[in-house]
């Protein structure tokens, strides 16, 4: 999923630690939501063809019609057929987390609300199909899903309860931080190497200049 460059959401920014919008951003988002709330119901209507919501997502993202329908059903947690500002805010945070590659952090920080979103049936457990249905939002790959259920399904019922899901988010967060650290070290090493090469080149150049000068002086003396 990608946000359309230059769209309003594209300019918003999540706090990298808490993966939430600042008050000022929320204020702007409220104004935006009210602009789209044509019928003055403090909601984006859904109904059976979820028009406003669909056109909004279609305009600002590259999600397909089916994916937008899936998102709508996920967010319409009270089955009202409409999306209120709370759900809209949640959606924007999820979209921004994906856009800014903060999925692991977002899942870690907001594991409870995400779990409740994914738990469509209200059974307090998530099956692999549920998770896979939303992988375009949370960027969970198939291999990861397989590992997830293999490593974290402690109860062995092939479903994840909240504690197991939370463990998974902690594990992915650790893995993400390690990969970030490794990447940073790699960059530092590269920069150091480049610096050393530049220094060596500089010293070689100086020594060459030195010998040329010596030669010219000795030629002059002769």
């Amino acid at each position: 999923m990608k946000l359309k460059q230059g769209s309003f959401l594209w300019y918003l920014y999540l706090d990298k630690l808490y993966c939430l919008l600042s008050v000022r951003n929320v204020k702007a988002l409220v104004e935006y939501f009210h602009l789209l709330d044509v019928h003055r119901k403090n909601t984006l209507n859904g109904q059976y063809f979820h028009v406003l919501f669909y056109h909004f997502l279609h305009h600002v993202t590259d999600l397909t019609r089916n994916q937008i329908t899936v998102v709508f059903h996920m967010l319409d947690w009270n089955a009202a057929g409409e999306i209120g500002f709370d759900q809209f805010y949640m959606l924007v945070c999820i979209l921004l987390a994906q856009e800014n590659h903060l999925e692991e952090q977002f899942l870690f920080r907001h594991s409870r609300p995400v779990f409740e979103l994914l738990d469509l049936d209200g059974e307090l457990k998530i099956g692999p199909d549920n998770l896979y249905m939303y992988n375009f939002l949370f960027n969970i790959k198939k291999e990861q899903l397989r590992d997830l259920y293999y490593n974290f399904d402690i109860t062995g019922d092939r479903l994840l309860n909240y504690k197991e899901f939370k463990l998974f988010t902690i594990f992915s967060m650790d893995k993400y931080q390690e990969s970030q650290k490794a990447e940073k070290e790699k960059k530092n090493e590269k920069a150091l190497l480049q610096k050393k090469v530049a220094q060596v080149n500089e010293s070689q150049r100086e020594s060459l200049l030195g010998t040329k000068q010596f030669e010219s002086i000795s030629n002059y003396n002769c």
């Binding site: 769209s7 630690l17 000022r24 702007a28 104004e31 602009l35 044509v38 063809f49 028009v51 305009h59």
Partner: protein, 201 residues
């Protein structure tokens, strides 16, 4: 931080969303009202707030940036540079300082007087530099920046125009919801045109 920012706006308008009265207050601030105040504690609007919070910076892709720290640093920088200039102005007193103790107390009084004069001159310099900026930032407390509002409205118009086509095809042109949406879109377009005309002037 946000509280102080909203306090400043509360001073300028009696109640939030007040139309003309807030505009008039802001205009008066643009003129002379602030000159009487000795020191300005202006809270600039923040999108970039703190290192713990989000980072919002101007880049080539023009993300919005109102940097409070930068503003404060700038103010500090202005104050520091003004302080330096003013110190130079008041420096002639120093060569007259002697080792005489009887002059010591008088000199201390003079020093304190010069300090006071220095602070008022510093503040007046700061006021003259801050006045236009202060009014601008206070105005921004109640409103979103104009470019952002414009972007939001344009985008909303595009989305709603597409939605109108769906409404017309799905539920018909005569349906109340379709007509409501149509009226809303026309209202948005009128508002946008009015704003463009004002900008053109």
């Amino acid at each position: 931080m946000e509280g102080k920012a909203f306090k400043a706006s509360a001073k300028s308008s009696s109640h939030p969303g007040s139309g003309r009265s807030s505009l008039q207050d802001i205009r008066s601030m643009w003129s002379t009202a602030t000159l009487s105040q000795p020191k300005l504690n202006v809270q600039l609007p923040t999108v970039r707030e703190d290192s713990e919070l989000e980072d919002f910076s101007v880049s080539g892709k023009t993300r919005w940036s109102y940097d409070q720290k930068a503003g404060h640093d700038a103010e500090g920088g202005w104050e520091a540079s003004d302080g330096g200039e003013d110190k130079d102005r008041f420096k002639p007193e120093e060569p007259e300082l002697g080792g005489d103790s009887s002059q010591g107390s008088r000199l201390e009084e003079d020093a304190s007087k010069t300090d006071n004069e220095k602070s008022t001159s510093e503040s007046s310099l700061n006021i003259s530099r801050h006045t236009p900026h202060r009014a601008y930032w206070v105005e921004q407390q109640n409103r979103l920046p104009l470019p952002l509002t414009e972007l939001m409205e344009n985008e909303a118009l595009e989305i709603l125009t597409e939605a109108l086509r769906s409404y017309q095809s799905e539920i018909g042109r005569d349906h109340s919801l379709t007509k409501q949406l149509q009226r809303y879109i026309e209202g948005l377009k009128r508002r946008r045109n009015r704003r463009l005309q004002v900008l053109a002037i």
